[in-house]
């Protein structure tokens, strides 16, 4: 189960000392880029409409982890808002809560989205290398919720279609 332990720089998405809530899909991947279907071209636009983090795509490195507030990914159903992070090699998102469609999209793409209802900006250091242990439900030493059964199944299969193959 070593697969479930990640380590990377933690982007603490905060404003005035608070984790940013309601980061919607137009802030993550703006609707002006919706016609893009090639995942390799998506990363460059990640967060380019999120005030304070518009240079995210230039500064992001593989293995980075993102921490945000409530209702992350609210808004539209665009899969690109998940795929843009996969394109950059971002390894996981942790948020207090998610928009429902966003969470499904991430799960179906085997991209870890972890819920941490108690997350606070002050508990973490921006850009510090941090360990996410999805087995034990820990970000650093702080507790996260565990992945649900279906989320784990799809994650280990490598995606929804791959998971469906295992059911046959």
């Amino acid at each position: 189960m070593a697969l479930l332990k990640l380590q990377g720089r933690l982007w603490v998405l905060q404003r005035d000392g608070e984790l940013i809530s309601d980061i919607d899909t137009d802030m993550i991947f703006h609707n002006q880029y919706l016609a893009i279907t090639d995942i390799a071209k998506m990363g460059q636009y990640s967060f380019d409409n999120l005030e304070g983090f518009k240079d995210f795509a230039q500064l992001a490195q593989p293995d980075d982890i993102i921490l945000a507030g409530d209702n992350f990914g609210s808004g539209s159903s665009r899969q690109q808002a998940v795929d843009c992070f996969r394109c950059l090699g971002v390894k996981a998102i942790i948020a207090r809560s998610y928009g429902a469609i966003y969470k499904r999209n991430a799960i179906n793409s085997a991209f870890p989205v972890i819920t941490m209802p108690t997350a606070k900006a002050g508990d973490f250091k921006h850009m510090e290398t941090t360990v996410l242990d999805m087995d034990r439900g820990l970000l650093g030493s702080a507790k996260t919720e565990p992945m649900s059964g279906v989320q784990k199944d799809i994650f280990f299969a490598g995606g929804l279609f791959e998971y469906a193959e295992t059911l046959k």
Binding site: D24, N49, R78, I101, V150, G159
Partner: protein
């Protein structure tokens, strides 16, 4: 123990005796994708679909409503990629002339009470307006539904909201929905199935139910379910026994009461839909443009109300009024009943049917510092351009267009 409406709909679609929190596979009656993300659905099916990428061609279709007709080459290319796939697989397309997919699904009777619909439109939970399940999904989920006819779903917890009393005359379904946003914000109902009951929903017309449920996404809800009232049943030629309702003794995670007695028109000021205030607080704000349309306020009844208010009046000098009927059927009725003339003569720009302002294109965006009153559902920073968007109902939108500043429908009556 009694069961909630969403639990009963899911059970009726192969989900078993489920309750909030269970993860189930559920059958989908209507499997759809739009021009946005539709090409990605096709891409997924080409990669994973194998010999038979479509479970049932009669239940699977595309609706083009975002960029219609395409005004960028990438969108045109995506749309045509979908057409070629659809021809090969014998799938129906409601093409660039048809209008908003979710409204077409209701208009065609496909999305009737008790049914299940998924697709790539995040406002597909608008189906809650008719006591049906609808859910916007990404292109992976949607492609999976095209291929298998089902999706996995975590049954949401159900809460119930009782609306008490009736709003003041001149207050619309949009204002009632904004009152919900004001009360609950975007977090309280997050991930919940919200059943709404009371005197107002009991008598609401289908078009009002559509407006009301369309803002569930902005509340963070999975869906806002209205038990089908007599008017909604009549619209589908259904009897009460044919629809699905919650059990009388259903248990809810939480019950809320919201008093809407005498409610006056509201608006959502920038930067988000739950920044709700009374319209009169903003009456000195000058307006540059007004948009009337979208899945929230684009029905025939919305357009006819706008036409009635605009008849014999003029849009203020220097104000753009953009009108986009939701569907071609609505457009046709407006045309043949002469209502388009009332809109046009008042100074409106009337576009072909579609989503209008929400998907970057069809009828223009706002520029920096431009102030727009919009009947749509999202005013997030950057969503409808760089300007400041205020969300409101038809009456407020028309009054603001005519007076050149944010105004209530009651002020219009004095003009």
């Amino acid at each position: 123990m009694g069961r909630t409406l969403i639990e009963k709909i899911i059970t009726a679609h192969g989900g078993g005796e489920c309750t909030g929190g269970d993860v189930v596979w559920m059958g989908i009656d209507n499997r759809s994708a739009r021009d946005f993300a539709g090409a990605n659905v096709v891409g997924n099916l080409e990669k994973y679909g194998g010999e038979s990428p479509i479970d049932d061609p009669d239940k699977t279709f595309f609706t083009f409503d975002c960029n219609v007709p395409a005004n960028t080459i990438p969108y045109a290319t995506n749309q045509h990629r979908i057409r070629l796939f659809a021809r090969e697989q014998n799938l129906r397309i409601w093409d660039v002339d048809a209008g908003i997919g979710s409204h077409v699904v209701i208009e065609e009777g496909l999305g009737k009470p008790g049914t299940t619909t998924i697709g790539t439109d995040s406002h597909l939970n608008i189906m809650g307006a008719v006591g049906a399940f609808g859910q916007g999904m990404g292109d992976v989920d949607t492609a999976f539904a095209f291929k298998s006819g089902k999706v996995w779903f975590q049954v949401p917890n159900s809460v119930r909201v009782t609306l008490k009393g009736m709003p003041a005359p001149g207050t619309e379904a949009k204002d009632v929905a904004l009152a919900m946003l004001k009360e609950f914000g975007s977090h309280t109902l997050l991930g919940r199935s919200v059943e709404v009951q009371g005197e107002w929903p009991d008598q609401a017309a289908l078009s009002d139910c559509i407006t009301f449920s369309s803002l569930g996404t902005e509340m963070g809800a999975i869906i806002i379910l209205l038990p089908p009232n007599q008017k909604v049943l009549n619209a589908f030629g259904m009897k009460k026994e044919e629809a699905i309702y919650a059990d009388g003794d259903a248990e809810y995670e939480k019950e809320y009461t919201l008093d809407i007695t005498g409610l006056k028109p509201l608006l959502a000021a920038p930067p988000n839909p739950h920044n709700v205030h009374s319209v009169s607080e903003y009456k000195d704000t000058a307006v540059d443009g007004v948009f009337i349309g979208s899945c929230t306020n684009g029905t025939y009844e919305d357009m006819a109300y706008a036409a009635k208010l605009l008849k014999g009046r003029k849009v203020a000098e220097g104000v753009m009024l953009k009108v986009v009927p939701a569907t071609r059927k609505t457009w046709t009725r407006l045309l043949h009943e002469g209502l388009l003339a009332d809109l046009f003569d008042a100074g409106a720009i009337v576009s072909n049917a579609g989503c209008g302002g929400c998907a970057s294109g069809q009828i223009g965006m706002t520029g920096l510092k431009e102030v727009q009153v919009s009947t749509s559902n999202r005013n997030f920073t950057g969503k409808q351009g760089r300007g400041d968007t205020y969300l409101a109902g038809i009456g407020t939108a028309v009054a603001s267009a005519v007076l050149g500043r944010i105004a209530t429908v009651h002020e219009l009556e004095e003009v």
